[in-house]
Symmetry: C2
Subunit: 189 residues, 2 copies
């Protein structure tokens, strides 16, 4: 009967999760990942990225049959044609998505069944910074505020601890909080 017992919790196969952690412990090289995106300018504020292959778990991953294709843009008031969300909004999405998945995975590992996670993310900026009009303002957001609503089969305290743990382990939260080294090269012509 053992095989009848589902190991899936919150949509995460916990047997696969713990197996993955064990595999990386045994062979640390499996932990190295390289993610990629290619972007092409279309017109004005409209540009488009494609993401498909990446390196991870010891090999070049080709499991995605097609590339994900996503468009960026700016609203009219920022001189675009609304061809897609702004880069700033994509950043907020990346943060919300990463924190949410971190919550879901760690809840699965801790045997907590979640029923709902919603978040709102908002951030202020003064475009006098990025437009070069006033040096007192930075280019980016002054601050980002995230509010989670989370429900599940655990005490309020354990649910809140999941959100705290996500801040301690989230890939995107780490980079946005502490910064990351970026190198930019240009090939002309």
């Amino acid at each position: 009967m053992a095989q009848m017992i589902s190991t899936v919790r919150n949509g995460v196969d916990t047997q696969q999760l713990f197996g993955t952690l064990d595999a990386i412990r045994e062979n640390p090289a499996l932990g190295a990942f390289t993610f990629r995106a290619t972007n092409r300018w279309i017109n004005g504020a409209h540009n488009r990225s494609r993401m498909q292959n990446f390196y991870g778990a010891g090999r070049e991953d080709d499991s995605r049959r097609e590339a994900f294709v996503i468009d960026a843009g700016e609203p009219t008031v920022l001189l675009g044609t609304d061809s897609g969300p702004t880069a700033a909004e994509y950043l907020l999405h990346a943060l919300a998505a990463c924190l949410t998945t971190t919550i879901v995975y760690s809840a699965a590992a801790r045997k907590i069944r979640l029923t709902e996670i919603e978040s709102t993310v908002e951030a202020d900026m003064d475009v006098r910074g990025c437009f070069g009009l006033d040096r007192r303002f930075r280019n980016g957001f002054e601050a980002i505020r995230v509010t989670f609503r989370i429900a599940g089969d655990a005490s309020d305290e354990r649910l809140r601890k999941l959100v705290e743990h996500a801040q301690a382990r989230s890939v995107i939260y780490d980079m946005l909080s502490h910064g990351v080294n970026i190198s930019v090269d240009a090939v002309t012509g």
Copy 2:
């Protein structure tokens, strides 16, 4: 005949661009923007964000008739079902999109006609960090590498300067390089 002369360069209406800058100089409050996203967990690594209204240019902007809806996910090897790009890939997209738009807008202001911009962005991480397996690794990327290919009606030097200027003015590059304050609240039940 003056009205026959197009003020559009690289898909950017430069008359509108300079008009916007003038308007903000005259009334600095127009520079304040607040961007937002709401995210909802669906199952496992699958979650979905919506972005529609934002505050900017002195008012709540409701020019978007519909929300942008984007899905995040993880590939199989990271315990997902490939329901969308990973948060890490969305971050790379946000960086490429923001640098590209900054290049396009500043080229328009400098009277440079661009014919092509492509970029590849890649970044390494060791998931032993975010999986909590080894404290020597951070949760996020170790580094991000961006390579631009840019062509247009200007010298190689001026084209390279556009890419340098984008690093000095990009909203996303600033935040990823220097970090930003993030507050996270949780409401349970």
